[in-house]
Every structure is written in structure tokens, then in C-alpha cells.
């Protein structure tokens, strides 16, 4: 009984900070003032909005996978270091997170711009004559977002990797597994769940990304959050809410699908043999 009571403030907090705002969004999107799906039809029938929606999905997926491909090996590398050296390396991974996303995105403008470090260096070295267009491209969005998300994935992977008992790898080796086989048979399956979780977190956060595409992306790199913000500033609350609902639904759907698929995969792996 007392345990339930102690949970009460937490539940109240979730209610106030999460459920009520989401409820308001739903109300805004679906009632005007009577029940209507007008906003959703507008979203579905205008090609531009659908295109932005697909673009958001695609960018988020690419960023999440890129973070996995870059971050997993980094986490693996750090975990293989002597225990005493790990905290410092993790510190280095986390340092960028102390800076605001806005500041980091502006920094990318300095790096990627026409007068930026990369272009100037390449020109100075005589490799190119005229600056390459890097800023305001899709590539810039990917680079900026991956840079921001990478620590999250590394931390998630790292913490699941540190929980793997090192003697399991030794056991695999002494039983005849090469280092590669030991990795594939033991380390990979045991770190997969953390990796999938990290990738999903990055994906979810990317779906709501806003600053990076707005500042260093091109016109066609607009994401859902940019449109929502634009609609809000034009006080089209209803349409903005409808877009937010679509974004939320899509995120939840993909989350469920990936979770289901990965559970099946792990299960299948266990059943195999």
C-alpha cells in the first residue's frame, strides 16, 4: 500500500508532463471544434507533406543505421581496452554532449561552409579550385545528425557490452572458436539487444529533429518537425497537431515492428541448431 503511495508523485508527474500535453495535441488535431479528419486528409493528399514525411523516415533510418555502424565498433574498441583506460575514453565520447545542439550545428556551418575549414584546406592544397557545396545539402544533415546522436548509441552499446562476462569469450576460444567466431557466436548476440535499443533511441530522436535540417540542410531536406514548427508559427494549431500525431504514430509503429522483429531474430537464433 505504502509502495503504491510512494509511486503517486511519479505517476502525477508523468500525467502532467506527458499524458495531458499529448491529450491536448490529440484534441487539437481531431476537433475543430467538432470531430474532423480534415487535417489528416490535407496531410495525406498534399504530395509535399507526404514527401517530407517519407524524407523524415528515411533520414532518421539512415542516421540510426550510420550511428550503429560507426558507434558499435567504437563501443567495442573501448570495451576491449584495459578497464583503467575506459572511463577516459567514454569521457571523450561524451564531451560533445556538453555543448548545445545549436552550437554544434553552427560549428558545422563553420566547417562545411564555402569559406569553411574543409574548402579552404582543399583549395590551399590545390586539390580544388572552387569551393565544393557542402553546406545546405542532405549530406550535411546526415553528418550533423550523426555527430549529435553518436554518443547516445556508443553509451548504450558500451553499457550492454560491459555486462558481457569476459570469461565467456575465453570459454569460446578454448572450445575451438577463432576470435571472429567467438565474436559472432558469443559477443554479437549478447550485445545485440543493447545495439538495437541504441539504434531505436537514435531513430526516435531523429524523427523529431529540427535544428540540424533547418540550419545546415537544403530546401528539400525539410523534416516533419520543421513543418510543425512552421505551422505553429502561423498558428495553424490543428494542422500542426495532426502532423505531430502522424509523427508519433509512425514512430510507435516502427518501434513495435523493429522490437517484434528483433525479438523474433533473437528467439530464432536461440532455437536454431
Amino acid at each position: 500500500m505504502s509502495k503504491r503511495l510512494t509511486l503517486l508523485p511519479g505517476i502525477a508527474l508523468i500525467l502532467i508532463l506527458f499524458l495531458i500535453p499529448v491529450g491536448i495535441v490529440f484534441q487539437q488535431g481531431l476537433f475543430d471544434p467538432a470531430f474532423t479528419i480534415e487535417h489528416f486528409t490535407r496531410f495525406a493528399t498534399r504530395g509535399a507533406y507526404m514527401r517530407i514525411f517519407w524524407n523524415t523516415l528515411q533520414v532518421s533510418a539512415v542516421v540510426a543505421l550510420a550511428c550503429l555502424l560507426i558507434g558499435y565498433p567504437i563501443a567495442y574498441f573501448i570495451v576491449r581496452q584495459p578497464t583503467a583506460r575506459r572511463p577516459f575514453l567514454m569521457f571523450l565520447v561524451l564531451v560533445p554532449m556538453w555543448m548545445s545542439i545549436l552550437a554544434r550545428t553552427y560549428a558545422w556551418m563553420v566547417v562545411l561552409g564555402k569559406e569553411g575549414i574543409i574548402n579552404q584546406t582543399l583549395i590551399a592544397l590545390g586539390i580544388i579550385d572552387t569551393p565544393i557545396q557542402m553546406l545546405f545539402t542532405t549530406g550535411a544533415v546526415y553528418v550533423g545528425m550523426v555527430q549529435i546522436m553518436l554518443p547516445i548509441l556508443i553509451v548504450t552499446c558500451f553499457s550492454s557490452m560491459t555486462e558481457i562476462d569476459q570469461s565467456l569469450l575465453r570459454a569460446a576460444r578454448i572450445m575451438g572458436a577463432s576470435p571472429r567466431k567467438a565474436f559472432r557466436e558469443v559477443f554479437l548476440p549478447l550485445s545485440a539487444e543493447g545495439a538495437i535499443t541504441g539504434t531505436l533511441i537514435v531513430f526516435i530522436l531523429s524523427m523529431g529533429f529540427f535544428i540540424v535540417p533547418a540550419l545546415i540542410g537544403g530546401r528539400k531536406d525539410t523534416m516533419m518537425a520543421n513543418v510543425i514548427s512552421g505551422q505553429v508559427s502561423q498558428t495553424n494549431w490543428g494542422f500542426a497537431a495532426a502532423l505531430a500525431i502522424v509523427l508519433l504514430a509512425a514512430t510507435l509503429l516502427i518501434l513495435t515492428l523493429v522490437r517484434g522483429a528483433s525479438a523474433k531474430l533473437v528467439h530464432h537464433h536461440e532455437e536454431a541448431h
Binding site: 570469461s167 565467456l168 570459454a171 576460444r173 575451438g176 557466436e185 548476440p189 549478447l190 536461440e270 541448431h273
Partner: protein
Amino acid sequence: MQGSRIHFEKVTKSFGTAIALSDFNLDIAPGEFVTLLGASGSGKSTALNILAGFSDATSGEVYIDGRPMTGVAPENRNVGMVFQNFALFPHKSVAENVAFPLKMRKVPRAKIERRVKAALEMVRLGEFAARKPAVLSGGQRQRVALARAVVFEPPVLLMDECLSALDLKLREELQDEIRRIHREIGTTVLFVTHDQTEALTMSDRIAILEGGKIVQIDAPEALYDRPRTRFVADFIGQSNMFDLATVQNGQADVPDMGITIPVVDANAVAISLRPERIRVVLGDAPADKSVFEGVVEDETFFGPVVAQTVRLASGRVLDVRSQRSGHDRLPHAGETIRLAFDPADAAPLAAD
């Protein structure tokens, strides 16, 4: 199947300035069961890890069947190992765990199934094949680890304190099981423990480790009857140790006892006497030179055996264990007791 011969030749291992093994020499015959016995930190795991290929010796060489092992990866040594924490793969079923070494050796599937089944039956876990390690008890996990380590019939089997996590009854049960399996498959076993009883009951030979060195290696009986240093005498069983005064012409004084005994070993500085080797001299038996006296200070009754502590005139205290069947009446606490022993039962100790 034939076990391998194992040979450690002048192996040393240091971690920075810390020396984990120094001048470690050990020759194990094919099929022999040898135990490394020593306190925590004495270098037991280090020796095992070097043999398994998990770490390299700083100097020296390990041979398996005469083949030097430096540069041979663990997976190419054909060695079975049971880890202290069992190291079962949590994401694999019991059967998959046991199948692992066979799978790595690309044994055909049908044969894998047959051998996994046989191995699980050997450790009486046939019906647990499909379970995950997480749902098994400690003893069952230990058995799975054992089955997994021997399923590919390795000519060498290493076990690192693999029973110490289990309670006494289970431990004794598994000791029997390990001995049975050793007899059945004839593999060479290098067993590590810090439990002397376990070492005494299981081994063909026991190597006592101290500070990264083997201080004595012998069959359990010889180790118990003839410890060569104070450390060993103290480490294995209970022992009364007495300094010797100058050894001359095969005779030495034992100042604490006030007697002179024949001592063959000219290098002996002390003797070790097991409590059960000391005889109580009853009645008016003639007091020859080998009899000495003390006062019973304390006694503990164990039924067939009585343990007494006796204070000698010199102030030294010694432990005596007597079978009650041989005596009508032993002196009780506070009474004078006359003691003697066969000098052949006194193990001469060299300086540590």
C-alpha cells in the same frame, strides 16, 4: 583415449613489477590427475591461463606432448576447460552449450546430436537439454560446464576452482563425478583448488604453490606424511613442528621435548609430527630416552578419537590425537601425560 603429457619448463610470468609465477616447473604424465593447491594469489590461475593460451609466459615454455605452445592460439590447443564461474553461454540452451566445441570442430550434425546426448547423460542432465543455463541450479550448471569441457574428448582438461562456489554436499558429489569422468575418458587433468581436502581426495599428485613457486609436489599420502617445509606441513592437515638443535652423526636434539632422535637428513632444521603419530605412554612402561612428558591442558572428545593439547616443560604446546580403542584410560586435563613417537614418523623439514 589417451591423455597428453604436459610440461612447464622454467615458466615465469610477471605483471609489471608483480611476479605471478617464478621458475615454475611441472611435468605431468599422460592421464595423470594433478592438482595445483595454494592460497589465493599464489599463481594457480596464472599457470592455467598460460597453459590454456589466454596469456603468454614472460619467459619459459609450456609443452603439450612435446610441442611448444608459444604462439599457438587457445582454439588450436585442443584443451578442455571448466571455469570458476562456469562461463556458460546465457543465450544458448544446455544442448547448444555442450554442442559448441563440436560445432567449432565442424563435426557432422548427426554426430553432434549423439555426442551431446551422451555427454548430458554422463552428467545426468539428459532431460535438461532444451533449458537455458539461467534456470538451472549451481550444481546443474557446473555439470553442464563439465559436459561441455569433455564432450570433444580433449586430451587435456583444466579446472579452475570450479567447485568452490558450491555447497559442501554438492561439492563432494561433483568431486566423485569428476573422478569418475577422469577414469572413463583417461584425459590428463590439471585441477586448481585452494581446498586441501579436495586436493587430497582427488589427485594423483598435488603441487603446493606459494608465491608463484611450486614448493613441493607429491602424491597426497607422501605430501601428508613427508612435508618438506614448514609451509607445506602447516598448509596440509594439522602439524606439530619442533626446531632441531644441531644435527650431528645422524642424531639431533629436540630442545622443546628434551630428547634426542635419529635424523638422517643433515639439512633438517625442524621436524613435523602429525598429532595422530604421537603415542601416549601408559602405566609404568620404562622411561627410555625417547619418552617425554607434559601436562594435558585441554581435551576434545570425538567418539572414537580424543584430541588433546599438551603443554611441555618448555612451555610449547602440542596436539595429540589418540584412538580410544587402544587405551583403557587416557590422562585427563591437568594430569601428567607421557608421550613418545617413532622417529620415522617425524618428517624432517628443510628451511623454507
